[in-house]
Symmetry: D2
Subunit: 337 residues, 4 copies
């Protein structure tokens, strides 16, 4: 912890900060400059909030030295994490594509989806059975029967399954059907859910909240990792900004930043990242060009009749075209699809 005193801070103010650091078990090194006195404290930083010092009299600023996360940091596993699903690995050389409808709606719909996405080269089928919806009047998902249909469609097409878990009471039922448990953006800081997922051994896909900093994403990852579940994949899916033409602003730069700060794989969701079908393809290409380990994309056999997210779902032929383009982009960054 570094505390910078204001120009003109009194000796009493300085001493009071030192006393407080010492009381918190920090060793303090004092450096008296012409203008500013700087205090360096070595101690239990994780237990202290820098703002507690920023508001003290005579303090100009306070900076942490340690990262607030440890297990999620690149330093913890410099070589990077590969999450292994048997025939498929995420975090390795291949860019892995997960695709399918927003919601499971019917057996015919999910079978047609599976057929379309496997043919184009996807390795996972996505589809929601429990849907978080802004309005109580919107379609809320089929629940467990939806999961059954999803699993059946996946098995029939040799696909893996990714689907969203909305709270900790759903984890055990989800584990019966799902290969990769998705935590939605709105739940990125549902800490009870994260803690329970840390106790699971099923791989988890943790989506960045629309107003979460990258540091907060890594802290939420730390909840899961600290429970002992290392099968963790992060996902960039757009942040909220003032620009309203797209539903969110996809923060493509988060991809190389996460790669630098953490060992965890990161995939991108250009469907929620943009909210508009006509932006999904260019943003999917951009994500892979920036180094994403995979994509999760909404594809629907009949987007015009989708019960949710139709506007951002690709038509099957658009998805097939996207996969052809991705193969070339992947090559340009020395990867495969």
């Amino acid at each position: 912890m570094i505390v910078v005193m204001e120009a003109g801070a009194t000796e009493e103010q300085i001493q009071s900060v030192i006393d407080r650091l010492v009381a918190l078990d920090f060793s303090v090194h004092r450096s008296t400059g012409v203008v500013h006195t700087v205090l360096g404290g070595v101690g239990p930083e994780a237990a202290v909030d820098p703002v507690d010092f920023k508001v003290l009299d005579g303090v100009k600023d306070c900076f942490p030295i340690m990262s607030p996360y440890k297990l999620a940091s690149r330093h913890f596993k410099p070589g990077g994490t590969v999450v292994d699903f048997g025939k498929v690995q995420i975090g390795g050389n291949a860019v892995v594509v997960m695709a399918g409808p927003c919601s499971v709606e019917s057996e015919a719909q999910i079978q047609a989806s599976a057929e379309a996405v496997v043919r184009a080269g996807a390795r996972f089928i996505r589809g929601g059975a429990f849907k978080p919806r802004s309005s109580p009047y919107s379609f809320q998902g089929l629940g467990e029967p939806g999961l059954k249909l999803l699993r059946k469609a996946a098995d029939a097409h040799q696909l893996l399954v990714v689907s969203e878990v909305m709270d900790q009471t759903q984890i055990s039922v989800m584990e019966d059907y799902v290969d990769l448990l998705q935590v939605g953006a709105r739940n990125m800081q549902n800490f009870n859910l994260l803690r329970e997922l840390g106790r699971s051994r099923r791989p988890v896909l943790l989506k960045r909240g629309i107003s979460a900093t990258i540091e907060e994403l890594l802290l939420s990852a730390e909840y899961i990792l600290s429970g002992g579940n290392y099968n963790l994949i992060l996902c960039e899916r757009g942040i909220r900004t003032f620009e309203s033409y797209t539903r969110n602003t996809m923060d493509i730069s988060a991809i190389p930043v996460v790669k630098k700060l953490s060992h965890l794989p990161i995939v991108a969701d250009p469907s929620h990242g943009t909210g508009r079908r006509d932006q999904v393809i260019p943003m999917a290409r951009a994500a892979v060009a920036a180094g994403a380990d995979g994509l999760i994309v909404e594809v629907h056999p009949d987007p015009d009749r989708a019960r949710s997210d139709g506007a951002q779902s690709l038509y099957p032929e658009q998805f097939a075209e996207l996969m052809r383009q991705l193969a070339l982009i992947a090559q340009a960054v020395a990867r495969t699809v």
Copy 2:
């Protein structure tokens, strides 16, 4: 639903939009202008997402006519809602102040808090027993024993109790101890929790998420109202912006906006809204001057030793001074404290 076609949209594109509206049970009125054709659709708007139309070929823009929320709208109850706690009402003429520590830490601490806040004029004591914390390594609250201490301190000082419920599994235990169930900002879109709170009859304090629009806040309110629980109070507690000097940017203008759009009472939380003790007092005054129905403020008998949020907790004497200032501000807006 209003659909504006692009300049130069073809007859085929226009017809295709009309067909789609009709298929969704809309009656369509077409208005052919020199530049733009405009389609007005009357039908089941709540079931349709305008973006589904925005992405169609030849469509320039699409606007809803209806509000997405109904029960939360001012129109539903023009006179405004007053939530009644017996001796205290929120939404009436009096500005109601809730105060206390971030977390319940010990019996001595919560008793001292209750003593300090009641003496200065607060009507509720606040205090967390289940704490949502960004880091898994931070203090997570005392749990149910904390609730017991909180209730005891409140009863000893004739205070009401407000405390945060983190997920739906905690509702029934919370109901045993708490008069007002607080939904934290991170849970504003935890829809399973909202739905269960709609089934409770205990009053709820719903905090705005740090990146939630006012419309989203009212949609979350709609979840609770549509379950039949009308004892609902909203809370502005700061939004996330680019400015980093304060932890959040308190959106004071949300107070008069909510008053205009909704019949629900709204209180303000200047502690989380600013994150800094030295900003709490001016922002508390500003919130009341802007028309807030109440405040929820962090006060700690010894903020320098608080286990959480010390930096934004007022010293008891600061709180007493704030209450004196609020009395004058309330008078200026023809209210009492």
Copy 3:
């Protein structure tokens, strides 16, 4: 400058950072921790960008010690600045209100405006002659003839004049008519304009840009102060956020923050801060309750026919009512209007 090395930084990386600091004339103090090595550099910080160090190999983070502004800091003039206009002072005990139409439109309009605002208690009349408009097709102002009408109306009603200067070529003509030169939000970082205003001795009202941090506002103030013009007043007028119900989000908390960081007076503009007439009055009250030294408010004798900003202009009777409310709020914070 404090440089924190990454956990696992090599000795070579550390030495390379030290060498670079020394080459830039910094004295370096090295502190080797169990996890992180920290380097403290004392030297010409103002000339160095911390990001230059953040991107070096093995560097985790880099923090400045000094403020990037000096003349604008509270420390430079702890007692605070009062800008003196003879009969009126800004920054003293009285809250000073400036009011008038967005644009000068005609002699009748500006005379009626002056009449209305002086009667209610304003001390300055505002009115634009050179208008920055987002669209090239909007009314761009009357130019110098507008300034003449504005001066005439002010003199007839013993008011001072505040009006916007759009670029440095307009300064000398503005000085003939205007008591307070307003720099609009879009020009907060028009550095050529700021530099020229530093050479003027006419008081300047510097508005915060809609995406400017408080630090950037103070750096822009530094441009004017460093030219020798100390007659400077800052203005909060709303920042751009994701919330779109109001045109901008008025950052009321900027008022106490600026008061803490700087000696300069700060006023608030609730008209641009909200963009909606129905929000102006509560936000004006909130700004004064938070400690603003003054207000600048749009008032038009006939807002429904205003050539610009009609939606955010008060009717004269609304303004008179606002002034009555402000008198009470000012009293609550021990000031006068």
Copy 4:
């Protein structure tokens, strides 16, 4: 213009809105629904601000039908604009790269820069002579002597020149040395500058402001186009968001959005978009993958000694590597570099 009345709006309120529309020369079509009355107005929309109607009594919302810009819209020139520089075209099949240092510092520096960028395949050299700097104490550029050095270096290496013009008084001197006049992000709404550039026939590169919506960018483009200068190129260079790890958040999705809404070419600036050298290469790849017509990249022969923007300047060998990668990415989107 579409005006949606509130549920429960009175006949008097409705009539008052109709009267006002008619007074503004709109023809009004009224549609009375079960809940909401909707008024469609056909008339001089460009002259009316929808907010003027939003604040009227009984009005729920108001939507424009027309785009506020015309000459900048895709509809105006469906085939797209190609800006022709003789041997180089921007907006055609080839992705054009502009590169060079932030500032011209010395003859040796700019000659070395030109040498490095031309060898790797750039077609333009960039370099600032007039520098907008947040702090008055930072290096402000060499001025006209810098332009001379820049032109000389460009001519010696068959490069075109792009450089920033800070205000309208500099246009004529810039025209003597520069092939493409850059308008910086801070000047995107310096309307006097835009208007004068509309009178020039020199091509202009207009950068998006850090808090400008895409619509505002196109309105600023409209200023230049409406003056008769059609040689216009847009540039995405990052927007300001809450994420602070990168200096700005590069809005890659703005590239396909601009392509859809406008006929103007768009290039990307990954250097300012990220502020960090280690993010420039992945974001440059992403921009081209998303469809950018070109890039403007900071490259310095010795970034560690750059007088400005060193942290985001590539080393010459990094730039050469980037150009190799871009050739592959361009191929994947059926373009060349």
